[in-house]
């Protein structure tokens, strides 16, 4: 640059900043498919609402663009329609219950989302593993040029952090100390219940016949009340409860125990502390439960699995036995996603290969391929958070579209009914009640069935249209996402 005091002179600029907003020669953005409504000021909107229809018409003629159908201001500007907050993740699994909303099927959702990308003129790579800016996710579709795509997230690929467990829930994969703590809290809670009302506690917890049950009942009703010292009484309660809990399990009465049952029994023999026993038994049982189904996992895996359990059972050194057991629990818990545990699934196949390796101490090394495969199938919560951050920074745009997003709910509009049909049904019911013969009733019932069929058909049409509307709304939002993503990149 010339000296600050040098006389100014005209000097052509060789290279200028190239702006990205549309020029006169580009398409007018007001003619884009999603036209942007005029952002009327609050004063204008108030005036519109008081001047009424005429005012609105006038404005329509002048503006040459869409007039808002109501007077509430529209958000207008582009933003990310799929923030992580919209995904409703992590979710809390519900074991039972009615009244859950009906949602669109994943297949349908994916079809419509893919359609959105096509309508935006993008060539996509489908079902591809993408590794970009530090994340590896199984993308349903991805365009490299715009670094733009999406991941459909549902139960099939929920990874770490996607499910939120209640603090009292014991999920597979929990560590020994955490499970011990759980049982400790449970015993403390039961102790309090017993203290408040011993008889009620007995009737609540003692409900089947066995030697262990009788011993526990005897302890609760006779032995404990005789102990004056409260601390000693509590310790006695804990011993009685843990003994009852462990030995009342059916495995101890199994006449032909499987290797899995034999290992469970070994736990009670080889681990001293009762709470540790309870915890380890639970963890082992929880980790193997899904694999202990030969019809599901197939013969080859069942054989490899049984072989591993036998090896554990036959390990004499307690320390080595414990280590190998923990290793197996850890491995099986990491692959505990139900849909992987199926004969023929590549992940289950790989797990079988890992189990078949002779030296179990080197399993972690052998299992690296297995973990990589799992990672490629799953999406973790931390990954979708990272996707959001990358999109905000304009580095890549992978929309995390969740099956639990509220937009997947099909709103059936409270179940509209057709008054004429309802009246016909009522009338026919009245006639049936008043009918004097079976023949008359049969004939009326036939008519009623016809009306019911008509109603079902109309309900289906309504339901289908609601279903379609939900899918189309989702598609539209995906298109907005694409436009937003392109805008962030200056296109």
């Amino acid at each position: 640059m010339p000296h600050k005091n040098a006389k100014l002179s005209v000097h052509p600029l060789r290279k200028a900043y190239q702006p990205k907003y549309p020029s006169y020669f580009d398409d007018n953005p007001l003619e884009y498919p999603n036209a942007y409504p005029y952002p009327f000021s609050k004063k204008m909107l108030q005036a519109l609402s008081t001047t009424g229809f005429t005012g609105v018409l006038l404005l329509s003629a002048l503006s040459g663009c869409d007039v808002p159908k109501n007077v509430s201001p529209s958000p207008g500007s582009l933003s990310n329609p799929f923030p992580v907050a919209a995904a409703n993740l992590p979710y809390r699994p519900i074991m039972f219950g009615t009244g859950l909303p009906t949602r669109i099927e994943s297949e349908d959702a994916i079809d419509f989302i893919n359609q959105a990308f096509q309508k935006e003129g993008l060539e996509m790579k489908y079902d591809t593993l993408i590794e970009v800016n530090g994340i590896r996710v199984p993308a349903n579709a991805y365009n490299e040029q715009y670094q733009l795509g999406y991941v459909w997230i549902d139960y099939l690929n929920h990874g770490k952090g996607m499910a939120e467990q209640h603090e009292t829930h014991l999920s597979p994969g929990l560590s020994q100390p955490k499970v011990v703590k759980h049982y400790r809290q449970q015993i403390d809670y039961y102790w309090q219940q017993y203290q408040e009302d011993a008889a009620a506690f007995v009737s609540r917890h003692i409900y089947h016949d066995s030697k262990e049950t009788e011993d526990f009942r005897n302890a609760l009703e006779n032995k404990l009340p005789a102990i004056e010292n409260i601390t000693k009484r509590k310790k006695s309660f804990e011993e009685a409860y843990t003994h009852y809990y462990i030995y009342s399990q059916s495995q101890f009465n199994d006449e032909n125990p499987t290797p899995a049952v034999q290992v469970i029994v070994q736990i009670s023999d080889r681990v001293k502390d009762p709470l540790e026993v309870m915890a380890l038994m639970y963890r082992f049982g929880a980790s193997i439960s899904r694999y202990n189904r030969p019809h599901r996992v197939g013969e080859a895996f069942t054989t490899a699995f049984a072989n591993e359990l036998e090896q554990i059972r036959d390990t004499k050194n307690v320390k080595k036995w414990r280590n190998r057991l923990e290793d197996l629990i850890g491995l099986l818990s990491d692959v505990q996603y139900y849909h992987f545990i199926k004969e023929g699934h590549p992940i289950l196949e790989e797990l079988r290969h890992v189990l078949a390796k002779e030296d179990w101490r080197k399993r972690k090394k052998h299992a690296s391929k297995l973990y990589k495969m799992i990672d490629e199938h799953l999406v973790d919560y931390s990954e979708i958070k990272k996707m959001e951050t990358l999109a905000e920074k304009g580095k890549s745009f992978i929309a995390p579209i969740s099956s639990r997003d509220d937009r997947t709910i099909i709103h059936r509009d409270g179940g509209k009914y057709i008054p004429e049909l309802v009246e016909q049904q009522r009338d026919l019911h009245r006639q049936i009640r008043a009918a004097s013969s079976d023949a008359q009733k049969d004939s009326l019932n036939l008519l009623l069935e016809q009306v019911n069929q008509k109603e079902r058909a109309l309900a289906k049409i309504q339901s289908d249209s609601m279903h379609l509307a939900t899918l189309q709304r989702l598609e539209n939002d995906v298109r907005l996402y694409i436009q937003w993503a392109k805008a962030q990149q200056g296109y």
Partner: protein, 349 residues
């Protein structure tokens, strides 16, 4: 200007309009302070209303505000004389370059005038001139004027000042502050016009203007001096008189050879600008500014050159940020031909 010259000017205008088959006239009263001759102004407008009812005439004027009163404003409004105010910013800025004849500060009267003018016409524009010594306060001045109620801010540099490169460094920082201000106002859905920014965005979003379509200095646009002499533009009307730029007189009409020469000079390619990446967007075509800056209408103004290079990138980056967000106000402001009308209606509510 004498009454005789006024009458001769009116006659000349009507004859020219007839000759060229015009349907519309744009008449701007300028000075000094045009309101010092308000009687002439009203005489002109009343006479033209009587004699030129068939023409659509737009009247404009810029005032320093010292003579504005409510009754006067009412008269101006009744005659539809669109009046803008010259106000450079808060008093500390304005008074630096606009003292009254006796040296007193003029800001107080200007601010009072602003309030009156905005009450009568919320769409009143304000002209804010930036000098080297006030450049660092540009954003503050714009904010001050906005808070005063102005929504049409016409900002321009003082092209007659001695700008240095150091001044442009200061100005660049001010432009960046102004960009932030512009962006915040747009994001707040405010209706306003800031010429520094909106004109430059327009150079990209509107159809490129050919030299012929611009002011067409001396031909489609000309100025009548107090003595009746015709000049290409207002900047050529000085107290000394510039005979070399005279293109006629109201008494005998245009000197066509001189007129053609002036037009030719102003539309000539500026070779010093060849190959410039901003050539299509730069305001180097304004002969007025070139004349003020260089003393010649054939030479491109270095002040314009530096200013465009500094400002254009800042404006474009700001526009890009708003475009990225697809801000509806940005889109409608620059791509909806009806926006000026709608915005005008909104401001008048």
């Amino acid at each position: 200007m004498s009454r005789e010259i006024v009458d001769a000017s009116i006659t000349f205008l009507l004859e020219e309009a007839e000759k060229r088959k015009c349907e519309r006239l744009d008449i701007t009263f300028f000075g000094g302070e045009p309101l010092l001759e308000k009687d002439h102004i009203f005489y002109i407008t009343d006479t033209l209303e009587e004699k030129a009812a068939h023409l659509r005439i737009n009247y404009k004027m810029s005032t320093n505000g010292t003579l504005i009163t409510k009754p006067l404003m009412a008269q101006l409004m009744a005659r539809r004389i669109f009046t803008s105010l010259s106000l450079d910013g808060p008093p500390s800025i304005h008074d630096k370059h606009r003292p009254q004849a006796g040296g007193q500060r003029s800001s107080r009267k200007a601010i009072e005038a602003a309030k009156i003018m905005l009450r009568y016409n919320p769409c009143t524009s304000v002209s804010c001139v930036i000098s080297p010594d006030t450049a660092m306060h540009l954003a503050d001045s714009a904010d001050y004027l906005f808070n005063l109620g102005f929504r049409y801010l016409i900002t321009t540099l003082d092209y007659s000042s001695d700008w240095t490169i150091k001044d442009f460094k200061t100005l660049k920082k001010s432009y960046q502050q102004l960009a932030d201000w512009y962006e915040n106002k747009m994001l707040s859905n405010e209706r306003f016009y800031l010429s520094f920014f909106d004109e430059r965005i327009r150079t990209r979003t509107f159809k490129p203007i050919t030299a012929h379509e611009r002011c067409h200095i001396g031909s489609r646009q000309f100025s009548i001096a107090p003595d009746g002499a015709l000049y290409p533009c207002i900047q050529f009307v000085t107290t000394e008189g510039l005979p070399e730029y005279m293109i006629g007189h109201v008494s005998h009409g245009f000197d066509e050879a001189c007129q053609a020469y002036i037009t030719h000079c102003s539309e000539k390619e500026k070779s010093e600008c060849n190959g410039c990446a901003l050539e299509d967007r730069c305001s180097k075509w304004c002969s007025c500014i070139n004349f003020m800056s260089t003393g010649s209408i054939e030479k491109a103004s270095p002040i314009v050159c530096y200013n465009e290079q500094v400002l254009m990138e800042i404006v474009d980056r700001t526009a890009d940020r708003l475009w990225k967000k697809r801000l509806p106000l940005f889109i409608h402001k620059h791509y909806n031909p009806d926006y000026p009308i709608i915005a005008h209606m909104e401001l008048n509510l």
